[in-house]
């Protein structure tokens, strides 16, 4: 069966696309899936660092589309899971080095070998975004609970729809329960209602993410971390499992239960 391509996107930068890509990819590999991650952020390569693979890069995505190497030569095997690969971005080129048709071709080729293709989208709505979504079947939109990030998420949802990528799912990242309880962070249910989108998961603000990024080890592999648990749940939901929302806190959980298909 041909693999499925997901694009991880957001509009606003710095909300957690790369973190999500690394964790979802690693999580799926842990489940035994064959996964390839594409860093589509050409010129600002960083998925390699988050995965701890920065020292292994020889070729990159631009080398592949320009024919300097074969696709298999550019794929870097993960340290932990042999079924996980990374196709790195080029660091010294710009976004126009790849076009949407080439991305479609590339993802179609990868579909043959992998169960999941996960594309880490650059910030913005320009060429890099168009490239990243070109080959995608499904989209995940990442936001933080801030007006500016949710606004950009709304714009992205509209653009995805216009480009024929329907029914994206939402991840709300960097959620702080203490602030929600104080009334200083937007409620999860309000954001979902305003964006009219399906919730895929909620990831708490967690300094373990910074520590794990420092080490190049995705947090999804760490036991007993709230953010790791959140990404693990997201992974299983992508695999079609019905996983209850992370037990961030009783009150919040009860409020959002109704909203996320825990019927």
């Amino acid at each position: 069966m041909a693999g499925k391509a997901y694009v991880i996107t957001s509009g606003k930068g710095g909300v957690g696309k790369t973190t999500t890509t690394a964790n979802l990819g690693t999580g799926l590999a842990k489940l035994g899936k064959r996964v390839v991650l594409i860093d589509a952020d050409i010129g600002l390569r960083n998925l390699d660092v988050v995965l701890g693979l920065e020292n292994r890069i020889v070729y990159d995505i631009v080398d592949v589309v320009e024919g300097n190497c074969r696709l298999e030569q550019a794929l870097i095997k993960d340290k932990r899971y042999s079924s996980l690969c990374l196709l790195p971005a080029a660091q010294t080129r710009d976004k126009t080095s790849v076009n949407p048709e080439q991305m479609v071709e590339l993802t179609d080729q990868l579909r043959e070998e992998f169960d999941y293709i996960i594309i880490d989208c650059p910030a913005g709505i320009e060429q890099g975004f168009k490239n990243a979504i070109a080959g995608a079947d499904e989209a995940v939109v990442v936001t933080t609970p801030e007006v500016s990030a949710v606004r950009d998420a709304d714009r992205i949802i509209g653009m995805l729809e216009a480009e024929g990528v329907h029914d994206p799912q939402l991840i709300i990242n960097r959620v702080r329960i203490d602030m929600i309880n104080r009334g200083d962070m937007m409620d999860i249910e309000d954001m979902i209602e305003i964006l009219a989108i399906k919730l895929l998961g909620i990831v708490p603000e967690d300094e373990k993410i910074v520590v794990s990024t420092n080490k190049g080890e995705p947090v999804v592999l760490l036991e007993n971390t709230r953010s790791g648990e959140a990404f693990w749940n997201i992974t299983r939901r992508i695999e079609g499992e019905e996983v209850p929302l992370i037990d961030l806190e009783e009150g919040l959980l009860n409020k959002i239960k109704r909203l996320v298909g825990l019927r």
Binding site: V147, R151, D154, G158, M185, D187
Partner: protein, 89 residues
């Protein structure tokens, strides 16, 4: 005077910042989604009122006209109290 002003400001702070955020978000999205700025809407409102006033005697102070989100679409909702029909000129 200073106390009164303090009172006003304190009252404002009672509204939690999440509600402020939610309202600002709603408003900005309404305009984003149809790609029209608040100024243009304001201009349009004034022109519409002008046109309607040619035919109807309306209560300018109680006009309520705004863009509203309805699920995934945006509607222009207007409530324009009419006093009486204007005499045909």
């Amino acid at each position: 005077m200073l106390d009164i002003m303090k009172g006003i400001f304190n009252n404002k702070e009672d509204v939690s910042s999440k509600d402020v955020a939610k309202e600002r978000l709603r408003l900005v999205l309404v305009h984003d989604r149809i790609g029209v700025s608040p100024e243009i809407i304001e201009e349009m409102k004034e022109e519409m009122i002008e046109v309607i006033s040619k035919y109807l005697d309306i209560d300018n102070d109680r006009i309520d006209m705004d863009l509203e989100r309805q699920d995934n679409s945006v509607a222009l909702i207007a409530n324009i109290p009419v006093r009486r029909l204007k005499k045909k000129r």
